[in-house]
């Protein structure tokens, strides 16, 4: 297993939040690979599972705050899919905590940082990650 975290980031929220973090000099661990998606609802269970197959240590799906999705319920659909992929992962012996869904707003770079740090903390316990 590599140490990489794959983060599927909604282009309306998590991607701009990540950009802001960079601009404000809020440093986070290098093992984060951001894949922009137009809405968290675009993320498919297959994408999540494939990321683990390719050796990701963790997968994050980051979407808009509840009630603020540009596509009304893309974020809630993403949450369902993350939950479902967690059960699939558990079945094949991968700790379900390695996949997570978080909500944040585009102008909350600190929250983005907290999510990355928290994930790395989890990985410390589970192995892999930074």
């Amino acid at each position: 297993m590599s140490r990489e975290i794959i983060a599927f980031c909604c282009e309306h929220s998590a991607t701009p939040a990540a950009n802001l973090a960079g601009r404000l000099g809020l440093h986070y661990s290098e093992n984060l690979r951001l894949i922009p998606v137009p809405c968290a609802g675009r993320v498919d269970v297959v994408h999540i599972l494939k990321a683990f197959e390719k050796g990701a240590a963790a997968v994050l799906v980051l979407g808009c705050e509840d009630g603020a999705c540009h596509h009304i319920e893309g974020n809630t659909r993403a949450r369902e899919r993350v939950r479902y992929s967690r059960t699939l992962l558990e079945e094949i012996g991968i700790d379900g905590r390695r996949v997570g869904m978080f909500n944040l707003a585009p102008d909350t770079p600190h929250k983005f940082l907290d999510i990355v740090n928290e994930t790395n903390e989890t990985l410390k316990e589970l192995g892999g990650g930074k």
Binding site: G22, K54, H70
Partner: protein, 544 residues
Amino acid sequence: MTEAKIGVFICDCGGAMKNIDFPTIKGELDAIADVASVNLSSDLCLEEGRAKMLSCIKDENIDRVVVAACAPQLKEHVFQQVLRSAALNSYLMSMADIREQCSWAHEGDVTTKACGLIKMAIGRARLLQPVEQKDLLVKQEVLLVGGGFSAMSSAIQLSRLGLHTTLLVGDSALGVRSRELEELLGLEVAPMTEAIDRDKNIEIVTSAELVGMEGTAGNFAVRIRKGGEEFVQSFGAIIFATGPRTEILPQDPGSKSSTRIVSQERLARWLRASSPQPRPRSVAFVFDSSDECSRLPTLVTLNNALAVKRSWGSEVYVFCKNVKVDSEGAEELYHQARERGVVFLKFEDSPGISIEDGLVRIEAKDVLLGQDATLTCDVVVAEEKVSPAAGTDDLRSLLNVRTDSRGFLQDDNVHLYPVASERKGIFFVGDCRGDLDAARIVADVSSAVMGAHELLARGRITVEAERVKVDPQKCRACLTCIRVCPHSAIQLVRIDSEREVAEISDLACDACGICAGICPAKAIAFQGYSDEQILAQIEVLKAS
């Protein structure tokens, strides 16, 4: 498919990304077979940088472009323009953010990560396909549902812009209910009905209702029922401007039928009558006790309290929890009312109202005085609640849109404010989307007029053709995508005598990809975010 010729353009942003070793990256990328050219620049977004990028694309016959630079949201449009200048479709570019998401986000040398990010973009770029633009015809007709102030002023404004409208009125004539509101809120309705009667751009269908709707923005097929008959008419956009419903909140059971407990409307009629007999000596108003969303009731109360003072000179008491003055001119009215001697009593719990010896008795604990106050009045104007018009829920399911937490049309989602819905071409104005004061209603109307104009003014609209597309060969018509599309952009169409498949409207689609994520047959391709293009980025993990 012939192999792509990928051009990679890397910008070090004036030398600002010191923690990246660019020559090393170039060396690594040069080794990739289908990467035709790797260019290092320090000023890619500036004119000189773009000129070099353009000539390289042309000279090397590049057909897929990767730009590794700052955050795409900053300069993506600039680089897309370069592609267009090179006669390349602007969708044939993939960007890697090596500044905000890499160089600036981490301490120490990040050459490996930057290289990985660029490889992800290359993996995606390799699979990109062009998306062409095309023009769709739109029907230059607007349907206005409602016959009140908002609907009428929308029609007048649209007509001024040269758009033909149809007013679908539930009542037997225009402005029936608005006339009553006229005095409550100071809206002038009569001149509007006259203007509409003269206007050739405006058609009126009275005593009719909307019973069905199909199609998407630009071409909605609306089923209208009038009398016993139904007919279908086509519209480019629909504006809902149905009013609210106001009802007196339940009173104590014993006092229900009393003529001494009246509605605001009844009071207004009473005030209009030439010689009311006998004139009440004391009038009390109650509002904002159980319904704390009482912006409209506040304005109506203040107007009516002043009118009572003016016409009858009665003693006036107002019982409320909070005076809602967050609308234009409300604080001024509140001041005037107090100056004229209207007494405001604020309470935390709902006051008790009962009839005693033919008079109304109100008991409340006044928070200003800190004691129980009991008042006997001739007339009480009871608390009213503003709620969504009857039938709103049916309309919601008919349109496949959401209502807010109080049941008004339009979801509580800031991205829809002020007047949009989750469906293109459908707008909500005025009191159908919440209890709004006159100033807000007027702004709503103009906003919706603007939205309809933008969609219909040219008679055609430019869209991205088949950016999100259903493969008819793979589609099993399971309807999942139709069910989940938040913008109702997908319909079932017949392709031959045997089969129906899902089809996405390029105009109604908002490119979220929720359908592509959920389709069990993997029949939906989203150009730029297809499964292959997303997986190609993940693929790089193993390679690194």
